[in-house]
């Protein structure tokens, strides 16, 4: 599973430009399902049919945060804006890679006072060009952080763990799962990082009876970090709420009971910020019960995001167990 994850995180696919990673995912999932289709915004939808069974939408987003060039000056330096939640503090001195393979380093205008974090407007990408003419980058080109996969054994680090780790969990579940209580729609969504846009239209298209997102969540286990219960290595987190949604209590109960019955470690998650594709599912059409399996992740949106492989493995197990028996949705919240 580490190999699967390594391949996924190293493919560049910023929001709106997910083609390369989608191609790889499609290759893997096509033999495992009855039908694969692309929707008008580029979401990849893989279906395992089961007539008469409740329809579940399982979503992990393919896109990662990135940068888009807005201007190349006479000396060949490229100005840029963020695609998604890129934090300026993670940029200075960092390296980026464009979809066409060109690499660059991020520099900034003269040093600001030490108490100040410079804004992205004060930064630029240097690709080693000496003029606009010999710069291989044009306005509109997109890039991602250039950081490779590092294997610490139990824990691994890379850019784009958010949310390729969710993609890996879905693919692994598809590989292992034989029988399911659902008609399953595995959705690999686009444009999550710019406002859950892909999942919004995918949920309308799939029209599920219930939905689960698989995404990363922050942790509270680093020195003087956020006050938050979730820790790396203590199991997948069952989301109760974040800034974007209140998870359906019936689904929370279903997930908790399933984890306990199968003796899978889990954590209860309250995230005070952020949101996932599950919000888009929940608000689709006339409303859809929705929940989230979260993978605890340190340094979310930094160029080096860390996850624990045991959490990842347990997330796969939890998902497989969940898919074997449907929750009761006929009772009130």
């Amino acid at each position: 599973m580490k190999d699967l994850l390594k391949t996924l995180v190293e493919i560049p696919a910023p929001s709106g430009y997910e083609g390369q990673v989608r191609k790889q995912i499609r290759e893997w999932v096509e033999p495992l399902v009855d039908e694969v289709r692309l929707d008008p915004l580029g979401n990849l939808v893989a279906v395992r049919k089961q007539t008469g069974a409740p329809r579940i939408m399982l979503v992990a987003h393919m896109d990662e945060i990135g940068l888009m060039v807005t201007h190349v000056d006479q000396q060949g330096f490229a100005r840029f804006v963020a695609l998604g939640g890129v934090m300026p503090i993670h940029c200075v001195g960092g390296r980026v890679r464009f979809l066409n393979g060109v690499q660059g380093v991020i520099g900034m205008e003269k040093n600001p006072p030490s108490s100040e974090i410079p804004s992205l407007e004060k930064m630029f990408i240097d690709v080693g060009a000496s003029s606009a003419e010999d710069c291989p980058i044009r306005i509109g080109d997109v890039a991602v952080f250039d950081q490779s996969f590092v294997d610490f054994g139990k824990r691994v680090v890379s850019k784009a763990m958010d949310d390729r780790v969710g993609v890996a969990v879905l693919i692994e579940a598809l590989r292992r799962l034989e029988k399911s209580a659902f008609e399953m729609y595995f959705v690999f969504s686009v444009q999550e990082e710019v406002g859950v846009r892909g999942a919004t239209v995918a949920a309308f298209g799939v029209e599920p009876d219930l939905g689960l997102a698989i995404d990363v969540t922050a942790t509270g286990d680093t020195p003087k970090g956020h006050r938050m219960e979730v820790c790396l290595g203590k199991g997948p987190a069952i989301k109760i709420r974040d800034a974007g949604m209140l998870a359906d209590p019936r689904l929370i109960q279903w997930m908790v009971q399933t984890a306990e019955k199968a003796r899978i470690p889990y954590q209860r998650e309250i995230l005070e910020f952020g949101g996932t594709d599950a919000r888009a599912i929940q608000l689709s059409r006339g409303g859809v019960p929705a929940g989230v399996i979260s993978i605890p992740c340190r340094y979310v949106h930094a160029p080096s995001e860390m996850v624990d492989m045991e959490d990842v493995e347990n997330a796969v197990k939890l998902l497989i167990n969940l898919l074997r028996s449907a929750p009761r949705l006929d009772h009130a919240h």
Binding site: P40, L41, G42, M68, H71, D73, I139, G140, V201, F204
Partner: protein
């Protein structure tokens, strides 16, 4: 059809087109009350459409043909509404002094001392402020706030609470440019009207003249849901901040790297704004069309802002969308300014792109 015929028959900005834009810009149609602009559009397009209807929110939906067997259904959207204000309370009936609130994004610093017009009859007034004779140095350092300003109608009886109002700048051609209020987005509306006059071989044209864009893309949302097109092209007017720079304290050669768009550089093709990432297939189609026909174009710098595409592309199961704008200086102020050549090139780029557009464009993977 060879290139020459194509060029000969292409749309052009003639005095007739200028007159239509003039009427549109001078109309008073602030978000929430777009009737005046909508009526002007209906008069203009009547000979060229088989069906048109106004929906529940006031969007005007126009169809070239009632029934068609063509494959690709293309939505064109341009918003009827403009930014302005609404009178919220009558402070002095005799004097005709009103408090007001802004409708849409206007910088309050642009308000003081500006001639305005209010209501269906375009009753004239002014947003007053203290004359310099009476102000202290400290007062002059403080910015104006909407709370501290009033609309003065010059006497009672000509306006009432709830009336919409806007700047009273008349349309004016100045050299190769147009100076007017509400070019955002009457210039897009005028472009859409022109597009309806031509036939396109491989598509059905569905035009939405939308309401309430300036208060949150509200009209386009329901229009796109109702039309359910295969793809959408939004025509808007985007800010240009391309003026010469002040020289900064640096050895590095000064260069304006944050202009959004530049006048005279042709239609602005959107790549990404706060609300939408343009469909790369549509971007490629417009760029190829422009390059093949030698029509100038520019990319609008990615960043903030948003157009009706932000609402449209998220409707139903997703609608591939792109925005094309005429660049304009000083938008959302009493007097915005565009180049006539940029308008004509925008009209031509969209026209030729539609001529060459077929269902094939969506066959490749995004």
């Amino acid at each position: 059809m060879g290139r020459n015929t194509e060029i000969l028959n292409q749309p052009t900005i003639m005095p007739e087109q200028m007159r239509v834009l003039e009427k549109l810009c001078n109309a008073l149609a602030v978000s929430g009350n777009e009737t005046e602009a909508r009526r002007l559009v209906m008069d203009q397009i009547k000979p060229y459409v088989e069906e048109m209807r106004t929906d529940a929110l006031g969007n005007l939906l126009a169809f070239q043909k009632k029934e068609s067997r063509k494959t690709l259904r293309v939505m064109i959207a341009a918003h009827l509404d403009e930014v302005g204000f609404m009178l919220t309370s009558e402070e002095d009936r005799e004097e005709g002094i009103y408090r007001f609130e802004l409708v849409g994004g206007i910088d309050p610093r642009w308000l003081a001392g500006k001639p305005v017009q209010v209501g269906a009859e375009h009753a004239k007034g002014v947003i007053g402020c203290k004359a310099i004779h009476l102000t202290t140095a400290e007062e002059r350092r403080n910015p104006f706030t909407v709370d501290g300003l009033r609309v003065d109608m010059g006497g009672g009886g000509k306006a009432k609470v709830g009336d919409w109002g806007t700047f009273a700048t008349p349309f004016q051609k100045i050299g190769g440019s147009i100076r007017a209020k509400a070019l955002d987005d009457r210039i897009g509306v005028a472009t859409a009207i022109e597009l309806l006059k031509y036939e396109y071989p491989d598509l059905d044209l569905l035009v939405a003249f939308t309401v309430q864009e300036e208060v949150g893309l509200r009209g386009a949302k329901v229009a796109a849901h109702a039309l359910n097109p295969d793809l959408a092209i939004v025509l808007d007017c985007t800010p240009a901040y391309d003026l010469p720079l002040q020289i900064e304290d640096s050895f590095y050669p000064p260069e304006n790297e944050k202009y959004n768009t530049r006048l005279g550089h042709g239609p602005a093709i959107y790549l990404s704004d706060r609300a939408t990432i343009s469909d790369p297939r549509l971007v490629a189609h417009f760029v190829q069309t422009a390059e093949k026909l030698g029509i100038p174009y520019q990319f609008r710098q990615a960043g903030g802002g948003g157009t009706d595409a932000g609402a449209i592309h998220l409707q139903r199961a997703g609608i591939p969308s792109i925005s094309i704008s005429v660049p304009g200086r000083y938008l959302h102020t009493p007097a915005s300014l565009v180049r006539i050549a940029d308008w004509e090139n925008t009209l031509r780029l969209v026209y030729h792109s539609l001529q060459r557009l077929s269902a094939d464009v969506l066959q490749t993977e995004r």
